[in-house]
Symmetry: C2
Subunit: 184 residues, 2 copies
Amino acid sequence: MSLPHAILTALLEKPSSGLELTRRFDRSIGYFWSSTHQQIYRELGKLEQAGQIRALPSAQPARGQKKEYEVLPAGRAALSAWVALREDPKQIRDPLLLRMRAAAVVGAPGLDAELRRHLELHRKQLAEYLAIEGRDFPPERNSEEDRLRHLVLRGGIDLENFWIGWLTRALDGIPATGSSPSAG
Amino acid sequence: MSLPHAILTALLEKPSSGLELTRRFDRSIGYFWSSTHQQIYRELGKLEQAGQIRALPSAQPARGQKKEYEVLPAGRAALSAWVALREDPKQIRDPLLLRMRAAAVVGAPGLDAELRRHLELHRKQLAEYLAIEGRDFPPERNSEEDRLRHLVLRGGIDLENFWIGWLTRALDGIPATGSSPSAG
DNA sequence: TCCTTCATGTAACGAGTTACATGATTTG
DNA sequence: CAAATCATGTAACTCGTTACATGAAGGA
């Protein structure tokens, strides 16, 4: 039940069309709630049906033409209600950890290469977050909204740092299979 | 495409019935790949159909009676092939971070209480992992399989530590609402 | 017998993914 | 006009969740 609320949040920050939302999900919002355009159009339809958003009057309902949405009072109310909900943290569900556990049973030739690849990807993602932080959250800006958004970004940064640390330690602890053929 | 491989891994570690698997998923395996008995039975059926596992001969195919499965060579091969696959890390998708971002837009009365609640849950989970670590990975045990399984558990421990650190910093950075309802 | 627990399932639905379809606008 | 790109959608499928159904075994 999170995607519609991610969309409402995005539309409150700035009224947008489906494709614009998709692009914003690829950038800032998708860093903690990713989505595809198919899902977004589907949800926009439902939200409009439910009277929580509406297409701006300037937009004709013709296929292939841009259609901008804005949030209606009912949508804002629904988002407020959702923010107040309690929700337990989800259990971890990570394919890489699962691969590792499986590797303990059936063997893991090449797993170290995959760990190195992930390490590199997380380093890149971290660099991207840090660039965003430097651009969007200079020390002087300190409104309440900025502080909350900065905390969210910090979550992403800390999470990448967790992965980098764990992967580094993991690579120290398992034998390499690339150039030194000591494991079988 | 991970659940069948989680099941194959679990069955290689120890042949089990559906309910036994469910309980093992609630304990060790579910710490990085959670599942319900409905999903497990569904997958067991598919894996049996595919010739990757089979019911032990001693088990009759009667409804309501225990049915133990073991992995066939084809299943082990499929698992080995899956372990060798590359898979990019998934994008973050976390309702709490999303709530925080939404709170930056529509306001956040009571969000600090929810953060405190999550902090407590993560502390409990961390304590549980540390207990498992102390029980299952004493310093003297050091086989290759143990090392990999220990790394997986370390992933869980480090992840809980990430959340505890982030939530603590977040609570320092946002104003408290409500008098002090944290008794309980 | 009735109740509980163990054990194996079915059914229906929602969320997410992948592939494809259709129309409008720009530009060569 | 043709092709590329912008933009909005449909369809089909898998995975995960929730609620419910069915049967067996053991004890009050």
